[in-house]
Amino acid sequence: MNLALVWHYAPSLISGFGVTVLCWAVGSIVGLALGIVIALASEIRLAPLRWLLRVYIEIFRGTPFLMQLFILYNGGPFIGLKLAATTAGVLGLGLYSSAYYAEIFRGGFASVPRGQIEAAMSIGMTPLSTLLRVRFPAALVAAVPPIVNTLIVMSKETVVLSIITVPELMYQVQTMAAETFTAFDAIFAMAVFYWLLVEVVSRLGRRLEKRVTLFLARPA
């Protein structure tokens, strides 16, 4: 392990890590938001809409992220969709992860006992209030663990963005490896960064999980 070499490349590695975290964070927000919308939209009793959303989920969940990204970035211009590499990367990650989040939220909403919703209906709460105050908080109990899990998986899926020249960590590592012929040092540095990110996310995830299940605690 050549520390001096890693040190020399530290600025570009750190900048790459910054891009990775940014793409992951923004992509995840897009994915989560889309996922909620898809989960809610698929409750609408309209066969063509449900079918369409089903197809959407099957496509984005059923094909490799690499391929989706490639089509979005390289195929986009053919239909007039010219995206900067980073934009394409973030959007791609958002679309890809939204299929997973949609399924997680669908399951979360389905886990809310019907009686809790009937209680809100019998009181005359609007569907929006019921969603925000009753259904969503209750759905999170079941949804948070798989959401955190998917967030972690997606943080590592960001390596694929290097393929379309997003200057994220993997891209920087490949550059370093190519310039110095030192595959091991570069890869090792990358592992440390990813481990750091995953560790932080899973710790935050455990806290969030505690927070949303606070009310389930029984007296000791």
Binding site: P113, G115, Q116, E118, A119, A120, M121, S122, I123, G124, M125, T126, P127, S129, R133, V134, P137, A138, V141, V212, L214, F215, L216, A217, R218, P219
Partner: protein, 260 residues
Amino acid sequence: MSTAMIEARGVGKRFGANEVLRGVDLDVGRSEVVCLIGPSGSGKSTLLRCINFLEAYDDGEVRIEGELIGYEKASDGKRRPMGARRLREMRREIGMVFQHFNLWPHMTALGNVAEPLKRVRKLAAGEAEERAMDMLKRVGLAEKAEAYPSRLSGGQQQRVAIARALAMQPRLMLFDEPTSALDPELVGEVLEVMRALATEGMTMLIVTHEMGFAAHVADRIAFIDQGRILEQGPPRQVFHESSEPRVRQFLQTYHDRNAF
């Protein structure tokens, strides 16, 4: 004007091929306490749920203080489902208490009672919580205000649920087997709250298996079997003077079970 609080006329409800209600007529007057009794599967819970349209009835009419609930007349003379907003407005005047309490588990007892006041009655947080606290006092649970439902006994949860419904200041209250999910020793505290409510003049329609409670508190008992009201009248008449064989047979099982 003396319109009845609830007027049900020829109410019919089917689940697929299963005809659950077959033309039920039932009136509940102001401040009247009516208990619906009958074997399980007889349609009594379904009837109760048709009153606030949690269940959409297929035939007949249910009127709350004279106003049809759930449907409105369309221009072609047929009826169509009522607008969602108007239905919500009507439901706000009808309190409902469920067999399984249906408290929102992520809110404290106080939160459960205050939530509808904030979201539906649009009270400011402080005022909503103040009124919620008054309601919890009324059901004897002020000291449990900050407890989550998971830390309350079934009886306490049901009293919070009653407080939640009462806080809305409904004009009538529906109770769907409010004590059926409770341990026998917790039944009393819930019935006590309901008895007090009846004394205060609340209009109540109660589906129950608590025959003793029904006999003492109800102004009228309606016996339902196979989707029809077979008999109704003052408790004394239904419990002791009924000539209807189904009613006698049903009540006999209660006498047998409690004779030890």
